[in-house]
């Protein structure tokens, strides 16, 4: 049978090595370390080095592309640009929203990445106001529809057979004046 078998002892390995076809010979680590070179095609059985190689790869990746460039950038920014000095707001001048932070990196992020708090505040306010107006319109619509359903004097939402709505209003006015009949409100 070709292929590897899980073997643990040296004798078992050499015994199986004799049983397996000689076209792809393989030897244990002990014999193959002693005899290197030559024209044999040897397959060495070694434990996996995958974890070690992955560790080295990731270490190099995060140090050379993460730690070193960011450290250099932070050093240069802190040394050669430096934080801002606190001053009074000059007359008639509205500072930009990023001019409210002292450190240059926060200023950069506030300017190019984060939203402007003033703009966000005002947009929220507008959205809330608009939704509130929609809500008020809906409440009024529902109230009007309920009143129409109860009174039956407008043929808008509900079609009632009988007297047309405009005559109904006159009748209701007469009834109210004579206090014969009061429709529920």
């Amino acid at each position: 049978m070709r292929g590897l078998r899980p073997v643990t002892t040296f004798q078992a390995v050499s015994a199986t090595a004799k049983m397996i076809s000689p076209t792809v010979p393989f030897r244990s680590i002990a014999t193959s370390l002693v005899r290197k070179g030559g024209h044999d095609r040897i397959m060495t059985i070694t434990p996996s080095r995958y974890n070690w190689q992955q560790y080295k790869d990731q270490l190099h990746f995060y140090i050379f592309l993460g730690v070193i460039p960011l450290s250099v950038l932070v050093f240069l920014v802190n040394v050669f640009v430096g934080p801002a000095t606190l001053q009074e707001i000059p007359e008639g001048y509205t500072p930009k929203h990023y001019e409210y932070s002292p450190h240059p990196v926060t200023r950069f992020l506030a300017r190019y990445y984060y939203w402007n708090p003033q703009e966000n505040y005002e947009r929220n306010l507008h959205y809330i106001k608009e939704q509130d107006e929609i809500r008020k319109m809906r409440l009024m619509t529902w109230k009007v529809r309920d009143l129409m359903r109860d009174r039956g004097d407008y043929p808008n939402f509900f079609m009632t057979k009988g007297i047309h709505g405009k005559y109904m209003q006159h009748l209701i006015k007469e009834w109210d004046d004579n206090k014969f009949f009061h429709r529920g409100d």
């Binding site: 040394v79 050669f80 640009v81 430096g82 801002a84 000095t85 606190l86 001053q87 009074e88 707001i89 500072p95 001019e99 409210y100 932070s101 002292p102 200023r107 505040y121 929220n124 306010l125 809330i128 106001k129 509130d132 008020k136």
Partner: protein
């Protein structure tokens, strides 16, 4: 109106005075050994290559409070809520400063702190009580409407039972002539 709040000037390390005692000299020399290269680096390389630019403290204009808003003015309520949250941050800082003053006084004057720090302690306790009556026990997600209702409940309680701190009456609904 301009704020009187200026940041404190940058501290300079005081120059060591040699010749008073051997131990002080040793301490000063060890400190200078570590301090001088850093100071040299800052003064020759860092400071000349920097441009000076400004940052400011944001000023928020006052808007209507919650007791001046109508119930259906949702934008007024939103602005009052934001103002309430900002005022809470400011009051938190004020309370912190009062507490730090009291703590520093107690730490320095111990064991004579009781008569000497009495005024600071009274100030802090009053401020803490006021802070609690305004912002306390509101929770994480609070709204200015809840704080307003809390004030209303406190005023009702005071009307029924008297000033806070004098205890509850057994029959709060008894008819009594109002004192105010």
């Amino acid at each position: 109106m301009s704020d009187d709040c200026q940041p404190p000037p940058a501290k300079q390390f005081s120059q060591p005075i040699y010749g008073r005692s051997k131990l002080e000299d040793f301490n000063d020399r060890v400190g200078a050994f570590f301090r001088r290269p850093v100071v040299w680096f800052r003064e020759t390389i860092v400071v000349p290559n920097r441009k000076e630019y400004a940052w400011y403290h944001q000023k928020f204009p006052r808007v209507k409070d919650i007791d001046q808003c109508y119930m259906d003015e949702i934008d007024c309520i939103y602005e009052a809520n934001e103002q309430f949250k900002r005022d809470k941050l400011v009051d938190n800082m004020i309370l912190n400063l009062l507490r730090y003053r009291m703590d520093d006084c107690v730490r320095e004057e111990y064991p004579d702190h009781a008569p000497r720090c009495f005024q600071l302690k009274e100030d802090y306790e009053t401020a803490a009580g006021n802070w609690f009556s305004r912002y306390g026990e509101l929770g994480g997600h609070y709204h200015v409407k809840e704080a307003y209702m809390r004030q209303k409940h406190r005023m009702l309680w005071e009307r029924r039972h008297g000033p806070i701190g004098c205890g509850m009456k057994s029959d709060p609904y008894s008819v009594e002539p109002e004192s105010h």
